[in-house]
Structure formats: structure tokens, C-alpha cells
């Protein structure tokens, strides 16, 4: 019965899913771009899809065709999401593809936000997490390589995002490797707020900070070059070690404790920010954080998906070089490098 319902919904969905709201009218003269979201029926998807559809990610003049991808058992819920998108009467949404078929889901896609991953269940070891996600991201990598736009920009959000991105990118032969990134923007935004709070300024007045490393408790919030309102700013080292770093590391858990649900809205927000900055660029007075394939900078082994400070221009990012790394930071960098190398070793069999 379950399978019958799944198939029925999938059929209904695929029938309705290619419904177009008509080609562009007199407004929105740009051709639409295709934006894919995996885990589209989930909580982060729910926060993300609607904000993208309303024009926040790529601007009010950029029409979009949404590609919503999830697992077969989620197709009924995804159908509900599609209905709600219709009920928003978004002028920028020129079509919706809702599917559990990744070949269809990634066809000609220009931007992909890969939220879907095997979530961490109670008692699950990180090793188990890597094994399950290994399968998911290998398959997704193959489909992206075969079907997506050759210029696709990808951000992996589903955890463990750095290593999931590594697995994914390993399947890519025909698209530049630098197009495959993972998200540390949430940690970056969280760090920005904590510092703003400490210094008594607005969050957006904190600039030139960055996250190095893995999106995990070993991530390194680097604040050596921090500015507040464009003036160099410092905070005392004790506060950094004893309050700031632990707070940013544990923020996710703190939010779960308070809300009884995970931080979907802020995670979705960060995923959107990651793409928007990648497209629009960073300002002269700032840089951002993206987990990208390492080119060996800062002693990070080549090929690891590692978060660096980057400046972005014309849709391309480049690592901010030459930032001073004190012994304190070097110690933290070593830890996060080791963790990522260990993760890579754990999925070595998938990287052949």
C-alpha cells in the first residue's frame, strides 16, 4: 500500500511538476536560471526554497526554475511544498520540477544547494555518517557530471559537508573542480554576531573574519585581521579561547535545546548567503568564508575541501593569501586538517 501511494504521488507530481506559469512577461527580461535543492521536502529546504523563489538569492530581476529533489518517500510532502509555492504567486518562478529522479532533477541546473544528507541519528558514529553519505554523494556527483550545466555552482550543506563535497567532486570529470564548495557561512555568520555583540557594534560592522577548516567542532574562527566599522579591532585572548570559540562551536546544539528543532532558518539563510556572495562578489573591505578545494595554501593538503578566507569577484573566488598565522591558530589549523585527512581516509574507497 505504501509503495502504491508513493508511486501515485510520484506520478501526480511528475505530471504537475512541469507546469509552467507561462514565459516571461514584460518584466524579468533575463532568461530563467535553474536552481536545484536536494532534501527539498525537509526543514532547511522549507526555509530556503521560498526565499530563493521570492528573489532574495539572485535578485529581483532574475527569474528561476526550481528543481526540487528528494527521496521517494518524501514525494507526498514535496507535492505539498509545490502547492504552497504556487499559492505564493511568485512572479519570478517560471517553473517547478519536483522529482526523486536525479537525472531529471539535475538536468541543465545552474545552481545546486545540496541540503539532503543522511542525518545523524542517536548513537550514530561519525564513521557511520560518512559511509551512508558516501553512497548518496557518489551518486549525486555522477548525475551532476552527466546532466548539469557545465558552469554549475554547487554548495554542499548536508553534513559532514566538507567530506560529502569531496566525495561528490571526485565523480566530476567535465566541470571545473572549483565549482564544488561546502558551506561554512553559518559558522561565519555566527562568529560575526558574537564579535559584534562583544564589541557593541552592528553584526554587519564586523568584517575581515574567516572560518578555516572543517564545518565541525574543529572549525577555526580566525579574527586576527578583524575590523569593526572598518577600523582594526581586537578582543582579549582569554575571551576568545574560553567564550567565543566554544560559543560558536556549540551554537547549533544550543539552538536545538531552546527550540527543540534544529537551526533550519539560519542554516538556510547561510546557504543562500553563500551563493549570493559567490555570484555578487565581496566588497573591498571584507572577505567571506567558503569551504573549497585546497590548493596547498596555508599548508593545507591539496584537494581537501577546506574552509578558507576568500574574496570573490565576477563569480570566481580566490583565497586571501598571506594572513599571519600565530602559533595559537596554527595549533587549531593542525587539528582541523588532521580531522579532514582522517575523514578522507575513511572514505578512501570511494575516491578511486
Amino acid at each position: 500500500m505504501q509503495k502504491y501511494l508513493q508511486n501515485t504521488f510520484a506520478k501526480q507530481l511528475n505530471k504537475a511538476s512541469f507546469a509552467q506559469f507561462g514565459h516571461s512577461g514584460h518584466a524579468n527580461k533575463k532568461p530563467p536560471v535553474r536552481v536545484a535543492i536536494t532534501g527539498a521536502a525537509g526543514q532547511i529546504g522549507y526555509s530556503l526554497i521560498f526565499r530563493i523563489a521570492s528573489g532574495e538569492m539572485l535578485g529581483p530581476n532574475q527569474p528561476v526554475i526550481l528543481h526540487l529533489i528528494d527521496l521517494p518517500f518524501a514525494m507526498a510532502a514535496l507535492n505539498g511544498v509545490v502547492m504552497e509555492i504556487q499559492d505564493c504567486a511568485f512572479p519570478l518562478v517560471k517553473g517547478i520540477v519536483a522529482t526523486d529522479n536525479q537525472a531529471v532533477g539535475f538536468k541543465n541546473v545552474d545552481y545546486a544547494l545540496l541540503v539532503g544528507a543522511k542525518p545523524r541519528g542517536p548513537g550514530m558514529e561519525r564513521g557511520d555518517l560518512l559511509k551512508d553519505n558516501g553512497k548518496i554523494f557518489t551518486e549525486t556527483g555522477k548525475h551532476i557530471n552527466e546532466h548539469a550545466s557545465r558552469d554549475i555552482k554547487v554548495v554542499v550543506v548536508g553534513n559532514p559537508c566538507n567530506t560529502n563535497c569531496l566525495i561528490l567532486a571526485n565523480q566530476i570529470k567535465d566541470i571545473p573542480k572549483e565549482n564544488f564548495t561546502a558551506m561554512t557561512r553559518l559558522d561565519h555568520n555566527r562568529a560575526q554576531h558574537q564579535l559584534a555583540d562583544k564589541l557593541g557594534v552592528h553584526t554587519t560592522d564586523i568584517r575581515k573574519i574567516a572560518i578555516f577548516g572543517n564545518h565541525s567542532p574543529t572549525m577555526v574562527p580566525y579574527i586576527d585581521q578583524m575590523t569593526a566599522k572598518n577600523h582594526k579591532a581586537t578582543v582579549d585572548q582569554q575571551w576568545v579561547s574560553q567564550t567565543f570559540i566554544p560559543t560558536v562551536q556549540q551554537r547549533g546544539a544550543e539552538i536545538i535545546k531552546a527550540r527543540k528543532l534544529s537551526s533550519a532558518a539560519s542554516a538556510g539563510n547561510a546557504a543562500m548567503n553563500h551563493i549570493t556572495t559567490w555570484v555578487n562578489g565581496t566588497s573591498e573591505s571584507d572577505f567571506t568564508s567558503m569551504a573549497i578545494p585546497s590548493d596547498g595554501s596555508y599548508g593545507v593538503p591539496k584537494g581537501l575541501i577546506f574552509s578558507f578566507p576568500v574574496s570573490v569577484k565576477n563569480g570566481k573566488y580566490s583565497i586571501v593569501q598571506g594572513l599571519p598565522i600565530s602559533p595559537f591558530y596554527q595549533g587549531l589549523l593542525d587539528k582541523t586538517i588532521k580531522e579532514l585527512v582522517d575523514e578522507r581516509n575513511a572514505v578512501d574507497h570511494l575516491l578511486k
Partner: protein, 320 residues
């Protein structure tokens, strides 16, 4: 870029699902443009911890337009100095509950909040009531906040309007921006009347293949989404709140819009009821009810049905 203006906006039911989706939209700049928003987040004492989590996430979004944030459970504290209050919070319908109970429980809440508005609210504060039964809650609110101009009280029928636009676009296979003047009349309930009588597509009036089916689908869309999602229409509701406020604030020249407002007797509707009408939004939170549209007998009959329901609701709510 230095952001000059500031608005203070209160959201009730701030720890709830619609608020969770609405707050990012409010802070995105889509509603008021480059205006800083001071947030006042109100919910019941039981939700205090959850509300802290909501605030943490707002902080973690690093919104350029966020001002200061206050939270609490006392409307007499949080309604002070507000320019706009979005009433998302209400008593939810529990299994086995009669409509009468729902009405009376919510009437109590909106009486209390109306009294708070009367005592501490800014004289010109704008109100959007979303919590159901939205129209009657809005009516109660206005009854207890008599110092505030009648036209400042609105309730949400924009979700129904957006749904209607979407269904018409699909039926006619036309883009959304070719459609104008689809109006939701009456109560935000299953008696609402979604009307295409004065609507146009590419400037021409049109008919639908099955008007009865269209009307019924809009009336029951909430249930349709509930069945599919296993949860109510959260984001589309939040989006409609955003649209309602945005157009009310900025004005819309190209089309009439549906807002629930306090009737002065337009179209023979009992004065004082909160009724969704065709509205011309003039900008700066000013609007006028378009009161002179020709209505077919079919339409007049539909209006009577929904008005009747609102009169009944008012009776039940006022028996508190």
C-alpha cells in the same frame, strides 16, 4: 550604506511556525526597503525558551536591517512604540473543538490585546490580524482599541488571493503578471467568495472552464495543503502576510487587492464587520475601499452567505 529610518514591528505568536517563516521576509528588506526594523517578539510564557532560540537564529542570520530585539509575554510592554503589529498568535483549533469554543477562546485573547493597545499603543499603529478566525479576531481587537483609527485594522485574505491568482494562471496558462483584480470577498473561511467578475487577463475579462470548482478549490485549499504536507500552509501564509504589508505600505497602482477591513456598509454589508473587499492601496499605509463595482446576482448572493457567517461569529464571540 547607513540605514536611516527605523520602524518598530511587533509579531505575536513569535515562537510559532508562521513567525519562523515570516521574520526572515520582514528582515530581508522586501517589505519596507532599506529601513531598520526593531523587533518586538511576543508569545505566551510557556514559549519563552523557544523564543530565545528564535532570537539566536535571527542573530545568526546577520541581517543588515535588524535593529534591537525585545521578547516577552506582556502586550502592555511589547506594544509600546510599535508602528506595526502582526497578530500571528491565537488559540489553535484542537481536535474535538467546536467552532464556538475557538471563537470564544480567541475573543478573549484579542480583547486583552485590544485593551493593551488602547492603553500603550501608538495612536496610529497599524494592525494585521492573521490568527484565525482572522476577521472576527480583528473586529474584537478594534472594539477594545477605540483610540486607533478604524482603517488601521486589517486582516489577512491575501493568502486566498494569491491562491486564486495561481489557480487562474494555471487554468488560463498565462503568466501571473498578466492578471489583475481577482478579489476575495468576505470571511477568510470556507464561505469566502473568490471573484473573477472584475478580473482581467491581458486587459480582457475572462471566464473559467468551471467557476464552481475554482471557487471551491480556493475555499478548501488550506485543507488540501494540510493533507499533502501533513502540516498547515505555513510559508505561503507568511509570504501572504509579507505581500499584504508590502502593498499596504507601498501602494499598488496596477491592480486592486484583497484586504479584510472594517466595513462602513459598502455593498450592503453590516457596518463594523471585518470584511474582505476590493481595496486600492495608495501608499504610506493609506487605502480606499472600492465601493462602486457592479455585482451580479450570483456575486450578491455569495456576499450574503459570507456576511451571514460573520454576523454569527460576531454573536458567538461577543457572548464572552
Amino acid at each position: 550604506m547607513e540605514v536611516q529610518q527605523t520602524l518598530t514591528v511587533c509579531v505575536t505568536g513569535a515562537a510559532g511556525q508562521i513567525a519562523y517563516s515570516f521574520i526572515p521576509l520582514l528582515l530581508s528588506g522586501q517589505v519596507f526597503g532599506q529601513v531598520k526594523i526593531n523587533l518586538r517578539l511576543l508569545d505566551i510564557p510557556k514559549m519563552e525558551t523557544a523564543l530565545k532560540g528564535v532570537v539566536m537564529e535571527i542573530e545568526d542570520c546577520a541581517y543588515p536591517l535588524i535593529g534591537d530585539i525585545q521578547t516577552g509575554s506582556n502586550p502592555k510592554e511589547l506594544f509600546k512604540n510599535c508602528d506595526l503589529i502582526v497578530f500571528l498568535g491565537g488559540f489553535p483549533r484542537l481536535p474535538g473543538m467546536e467552532r464556538k469554543d475557538l471563537l470564544q477562546k480567541n475573543a478573549n485573547i484579542f480583547k486583552e490585546q485590544g485593551e493593551a493597545l488602547q492603553e500603550v499603543g501608538k495612536d496610529d499603529v497599524k494592525c494585521v490580524v492573521v490568527a484565525n478566525p482572522a476577521n472576527t479576531n480583528c473586529l474584537i481587537l478594534s472594539r477594545y482599541a477605540t483610540k486607533i483609527p478604524r482603517q488601521n485594522f486589517t486582516c489577512l485574505t491575501r493568502l486566498d488571493q494569491n491562491r486564486a491568482y495561481a489557480q487562474v494562471a494555471l487554468a488560463l496558462n498565462k503568466p501571473l503578471n498578466s492578471l489583475k483584480n481577482i478579489i476575495i470577498w468576505g470571511n477568510h473561511s470556507t464561505t469566502q467568495y473568490p471573484s473573477i467578475e472584475h478580473a482581467t487577463a491581458d486587459g480582457q475579462s475572462f471566464v473559467l472552464p468551471d467557476q464552481g470548482q475554482f471557487i471551491e478549490r480556493i475555499q478548501k485549499r488550506g485543507a488540501e495543503v494540510l493533507n499533502a504536507r501533513g502540516n498547515s500552509s505555513v510559508f505561503s501564509a507568511a509570504n501572504a502576510v509579507k505581500d499584504h504589508i508590502k502593498d499596504w505600505f507601498n501602494g499598488r497602482e496596477d491592480t486592486l487587492l484583497s484586504l479584510g477591513v472594517l466595513s462602513n456598509g459598502e455593498y450592503g454589508v453590516q457596518s463594523g464587520l471585518c470584511f474582505s473587499y476590493p481595496i486600492r492601496c495608495l501608499g504610506a499605509f493609506k487605502y480606499e475601499i472600492v465601493g462602486n463595482l457592479e455585482l451580479s446576482d450570483f456575486s450578491k448572493q455569495k456576499l450574503k452567505v459570507t456576511e451571514e457567517e460573520l454576523i454569527q461569529e460576531q454573536g458567538l464571540a461577543e457572548s464572552i
